[in-house]
Symmetry: C2
């Protein structure tokens, strides 16, 4: 048995144990560890990593001395105990993200504004060169969250898949493939190390009947969820997305999804963020998954229009994240060919209403496959504008007012300012990325003359009672 | 008694009679004329034009000899008879416009595609210089229909109003003001003479309590409708719009509007086009006035979005005319400050779905008041694009297919062509107003590569079986 002896707060402590290789270790062996800090005990589930190696991973959330003891139905792995010290987090480590009202914050209280993008299958090809390129792209981008799938799609022929056996037609759904998962979790760690949240999508409806992933049965589904949770939950940057376009999966009911989400709750000791993402149901807002359910932490929405954000927030006081609002792109599909202007208009519309909008790029002709599926590089015009928007959003303080004008071009706008305070007013061109101060300090009401162009916004910043 | 003795088909025949001036001629005197062509009799109502002059106007619809006899409760105006010859229409006179399926045509069978604009009060100021400018603007524009109000708004102080008495607080709602109406009908005639349909709006909710026009009572309302119909119906370019934003008038019910529309039917011998135009109810399509009612000839809609056109056509097989879809402009009101790009996008969206979209311009800062209210000049970027669109629509034949792409920018589009025929394909840039042929003649299916810009359309023109 080995284990690391110093861990940073919200880092990963890992116990490695040798155990049985016979039978089906994934199904037969139960392993967990009870971690204790003062009088608090947290139990983390372990997992079989192949070749007789078992692991328990744990994310400690407090600085100081921790103890642990393992629990197993295998005698040699039961009752193993030890201790380690948890030190302060390294710079840039603010802990996991939590919902806070209709927004988010890191565990250390630092605000977190999600600027998400999507590269569903960036790890599946195990193409290291492209994975490194994806990480470089993200690092120099405004994006701090990435939606990614655990499961490959039906048409893909990746070198490794999550289950053991012969792919695609001889898979053993009762055994997992540690090689696949080691690679997947390396991707999650790489994202963590550049400050990007991994919005991990557990199920999706894109199997096309190739491997049967859409209809594996309750037992396999839940074993799969437990295995993924056991391997990934200790990474602080993990979010759980039960499914992408859940309503396209005809073999699962809403009750099945409830069940899957409750299984996540039961096995994830850290209460990572949890949601589920709709497909066509975006056309009928009323039939969205009920985000009021207690295991849902935020509303993960697909919709082409951000203006109902107010209605969604009014109906359910949890953060609204429109993860898919159509992508900047040039492909044939309606979801993948809006202009950058259109995407940015939707971003500003949603963000100025208190929601969070996600990016995707489906520009074909620049690399072998588009960013939305495979990562790599970004070639669109929106990322720079999203970076500009992110700066605007991060500069927002209590008392900062934003008004977005979209494709309207009034010659002047009258803004009623909250009584008592003085405000500075700036004109923002969201497309040209310019910020122009309006002369003077303003009170009560200000009239601002505007140029005749679309995509303008006004920012009113409180400068106190001068 | 005088009357003109030769009239063109769909021209105006007018009978002028001297009659009583005592009492209230508007209320006390009944006058009409029975016009006969072969064995067909059409009765046209007359009206009092002030100063002891009574008139009957009539639009003959057939070439050849016509006879008439007057009918009145005033002996000296009863039984006057005469005859006149109707000749062929002058060039450009195609007769009144009728609904034909979900489109329109002139009485002579010439197709009519409405390209409407709005200048609600262009006649009210009686500013001849500006009226002439309005007509010049229209003549060099793509517009062939103009929405215009009979009634002034509350805040206006026009030199003449439709009723007699002291304006605004001493009006006699039982008597009309012939000076006002002579001017109004001169405007309608001027429009006719440049080929522009006059979409005459009988009521509107913009009185603000100043003259009481929103709640004159049933008797006055109907006398007003009859008087307007008697004066204007003989002009072939008249359409009847019972009201603008009828749902903003809280003192009238849908039954009242039904009643007003039935009164128009009863007194207009020519079955001019009839509709009624909604206000906020545009937000709930289901509560639009029921355009299925038999006295409604077309659906006159206010809505900011043209995409429900398909649904409106499916619900009611009468032409869809989105008379207000927001205006190109720069004013503070949401309805009046969209960009020309946005307006044109809505035009193409609606027209490519089989609807007709109307224009308006509320650009302040170019003339004393904006076009939408007062006519004058047009300063926006949309009229040229609407002219381009009109040409495209007029060139459309059976077998011409249009596909509009809007703010989508697919790198290529696949078009499935109807089997059996060959097609020429053109790429249209709706904003830059260019038409680029795609090489070759195409059958069954064609893939067209597109530039990465918005506002493109494809036109497929059948060129027969080559």
């Amino acid at each position: 048995m080995t284990f690391s002896t110093t861990v940073e707060r919200w880092g990963v402590h890992e116990i490695e144990l040798a155990g049985p290789t016979g039978g089906n270790p994934f199904a037969d062996v139960r392993l967990s560890a009870r971690y204790q800090y003062r009088n608090r005990v947290v139990e983390a589930e372990g997992f079989y990593d192949g070749d007789g190696v078992y692991r328990v991973r744990f994310m400690p959330d407090a600085v100081g001395p921790w103890r642990f003891t393992t629990v197993s139905n295998v005698e040699e792995m039961d009752g193993c105990s030890g201790g380690f010290d948890v030190g302060p987090p390294a710079p840039g480590n603010h802990g996991p993200v939590r919902a806070a009202g209709t927004g988010f914050e890191y565990a250390d209280g630092t605000p977190y504004l999600p600027f998400g993008t999507t590269a569903y299958h960036w790890t599946h090809d195990m193409d290291e060169e492209r994975e490194r390129r994806t990480l470089r792209t993200l690092k120099s981008s405004p994006f701090n969250k990435l939606r990614m799938c655990v499961l490959p799609t039906g048409p893909m022929a990746p070198p490794e898949v999550p289950f053991a056996g012969k792919d695609p037609d001889g898979l053993d759904l009762t055994r997992f493939n540690p090689v696949f998962f080691r690679h997947l979790e390396a991707g999650v760690r790489d994202l963590r190390d550049i400050g990007v949240e991994a919005d991990v999508i557990l199920f999706h409806p894109y199997d096309g009947g190739v491997r049967g992933f859409q209809d594996m049965g309750r037992e396999v589904d839940h074993a799969f969820v437990r295995y993924v949770v056991a391997r990934l939950a200790a990474y602080r940057n993990v979010w759980w997305s039960a499914a992408n376009e859940y309503d396209f999966n005809r073999s699962k009911t809403v009750a099945d999804w409830d069940d899957i989400l409750r299984t996540i709750v039961r096995h994830d000791p850290y209460e990572h963020l949890r949601s589920i993402h709709n497909g066509t149901r975006m056309f009928e807002v009323a039939s969205l998954y009920d985000f009021g359910k207690p295991w849902i932490t935020h509303q993960s929405i697909q919709h082409w229009d951000a203006t109902p954000t107010d209605a969604w927030l009014a109906a359910c006081p949890k953060p609204v994240v429109i993860d898919e609002i159509s992508y900047e792109g040039n492909i044939g599909k309606r979801w993948g060919n809006v202009t950058a202007q259109e995407l940015m208009d939707r971003f500003w519309e949603g963000m100025s209403r208190g929601g969070y909008v996600g990016h995707g790029e489906s520009l074909a002709g620049f690399q072998e496959r588009a960013w939305i599926g495979n990562g790599g590089g970004l070639y669109g015009e929106s990322p720079d504008r999203i970076a500009f928007l992110r700066t605007i959003m991060e500069q927002r303080r209590d008392g900062t007012l934003l008004r977005y004008l979209g494709r309207r071009q009034p010659a002047q706008v009258t803004v009623d300012l909250p009584a008592g305070d003085a405000y500075e007013v700036e004109l923002i061109d969201t497309w040209d990325m310019t910020i122009t101060p309006i002369d003077g300090v303003h009170r009560e009401r200000v009239r601002v003359g505007l140029p005749r162009r679309p995509y303008l916004a006004l920012r009113m910043t409180r400068v106190g009672d001068r």
